[in-house]
Amino acid sequence: MKLWFEKQRYLIDFTLASMARRKARNLGLLGVYTVLVFVLASVALYTHALRVEAAKVLAASPEVILQRLVAGRHDLIPPGYLEKVGRIRGVQKKEGRLWGYYYDAVVKANYTFMVPNDASIAKGEIVVGPALERSRGLAAGNGISFRSYSGKLHTFIVASVLPQASEIASADLVLMHEEDFRAFFDYPVGHYTDIALSVANPLEVRNVALKLAAALPDSRPILRDEVLRTYASIFDWREGIVLALLSAAILAFGILAWEKASGLSADEKREIGILKAIGWETGDIIKMKFWEGLLISLTAFLAGFVAAYLHVFYFAATLFEPVLKGWAVLYPEFRLTPHIDGLQVATLFFFTVFPYAAAVLAPIWKAAITDPDAVMRG
């Protein structure tokens, strides 16, 4: 065993010396390969973290949301619906929600106006999300006016700004009193935007939805699981788009790396001949090249992955953010919780390190099995 370790050490020593002798080629290869891993890992880490983040945010959302439809379009919930829902077994809590979108021509962005269910905001006051704080320069105590869709100007006092920590969900949020909301949007009394329902037993959610659909045929129950699935597929789709956009570059990098790794120079072929002539076995030469491939690909994988990790979790994925995050005018500024999926890392490792090892070993096999007598002939 000791002999085996000593032998591997010699092979690694020689490999490192060989690599140092071809510094430019190997550093170039390492650079290209690291960039390749960096791009792939950044996209994978970012979309995965977004998916996890979305799931976390939605964990606190209601199990079922009920919307009323008129001619297939979302319409207001008329009075009396809340009472009808209350009679369905399994529903633990229900509440009518008031929310809507408002286009602010000043910053050319959409805000979400909402009435919080705890009625904690006084009349004439609003609580704004961090993106509004930035875009409109708002702070607690400031006054701000919005022109409603009816043309009337409404002035509010900013009571506070929502904390940065909740920004992924609250960047463009404006919370206000119910009466202010109804006055601003001319919302009829007793009407709601939708109804949020809590269902205690998760296994009952689907049954409750079926009962809701039967009891209120003009309504559409939306399950939290469905929203989660939609988010997941949106992020999957965005990941796919980014990879499709980058596929040409990835392919070019891949071909370059393959070409560099699999090409044996005349010098290398000569060296293999010499090593065989002085007593190295074909296996020793293949092992040496295996170490070379492993050292380069592992270093590139680790460097690329660590760089991607820093890029995503410490520099907010600056390079891919515009495509992966969405197309809002007011981007939420948030730092993702570092989250790594073992299977994802393993897949990335397999698809980057394995082809490289194959690229290195395939030509070396051919060179290593040739008779060593060629070296005698100069």
């Binding site: 032998k7 010699y10 092979l11 002798r21 010499i274 007593g279 076995e281 008779d371 005698m376």
Partner: protein, 225 residues
């Protein structure tokens, strides 16, 4: 030590450019003796060396090392025999550029997995013996032709082989260096090593160190004394 019986060696066999480099060689190389293969270019000297040194297999015939038939052995075993039994000094020296003299010398011992300390001790002793101690850390491409050949000799001896095989060892050396090489050869022969070399340099073939000269032409032995 080595017996060759009915040896024939073809290159590009079965193709339009088929060429028989050796055509019926019967030869016994004695242990602890210096044997020189002479002959013009293309006579088959180097091909014969590759067969004796287990660098290649004959197309026909048998090679026996200490009575054991090695001509049909798989590559792994041949490599093992080559590493333990033979040391090679090539015409072009075939050192690995970019590595120091010391690193080149210990290369043939890497597959043995011997402790590095022992290897380095042996290499240092060989360097000292061939007056190369001061050049141990120099990259081989910075060395003169004579120094490069001495590094190649050290490398050939690192595994302490019984036999040394040298192909045209003086072809790239001037008279002074060629004489120096012959002096080294004399020392090695004195230690009881078997030496087989090819040359058409009279300084080598007519040297008193050489015990036996084998003349070759067109892949056959034409004279043996």
């Amino acid at each position: 030590m080595i017996e060759l019986a009915g040896i024939r060696k073809a290159f590009n066999q079965g193709q339009h450019n088929e060429y028989w480099a050796l055509n019926g060689i019967d030869l016994a190389i004695e242990a602890n003796k210096v044997t020189a293969l002479r002959g013009p270019s293309g006579s088959g000297k180097t091909t014969l060396l590759t067969l004796v040194g287990c660098l290649a297999r004959p197309t026909e015939g048998r090679v026996r090392l200490k009575g054991e038939d090695i001509s049909g052995l798989p590559e792994r075993f041949l490599t093992d025999i080559r590493r333990r039994t033979f040391g090679f000094v090539f015409q072009q020296f075939n050192l690995i550029k970019g590595l120091s003299a010391l690193d080149n010398i210990i290369l043939p011992a890497y597959p043995t997995g011997e402790p590095r300390r022992e290897l380095l001790e042996r290499a240092e002793a060989l360097l000292a013996r061939l007056n190369l101690g001061h050049r141990r850390e120099a990259k081989v491409e910075w060395l003169s032709g004579g120094e490069q050949q001495r590094v190649a000799i050290c490398r050939a001896l690192i595994n302490d082989p019984e036999a040394l095989i040298a192909d045209e060892p003086t072809a790239n050396l001037d008279t002074h260096l060629a004489k120096e090489f012959m002096a080294i050869l004399e020392g090695l022969a004195g230690e009881g090593r078997t030496i087989l070399l090819t040359s058409h340099d009279p300084l080598v073939t007519e040297s008193a160190v050489v015990d036996r000269g084998v003349e070759m032409r067109d892949g056959q032995i034409v004279d043996d004394r």
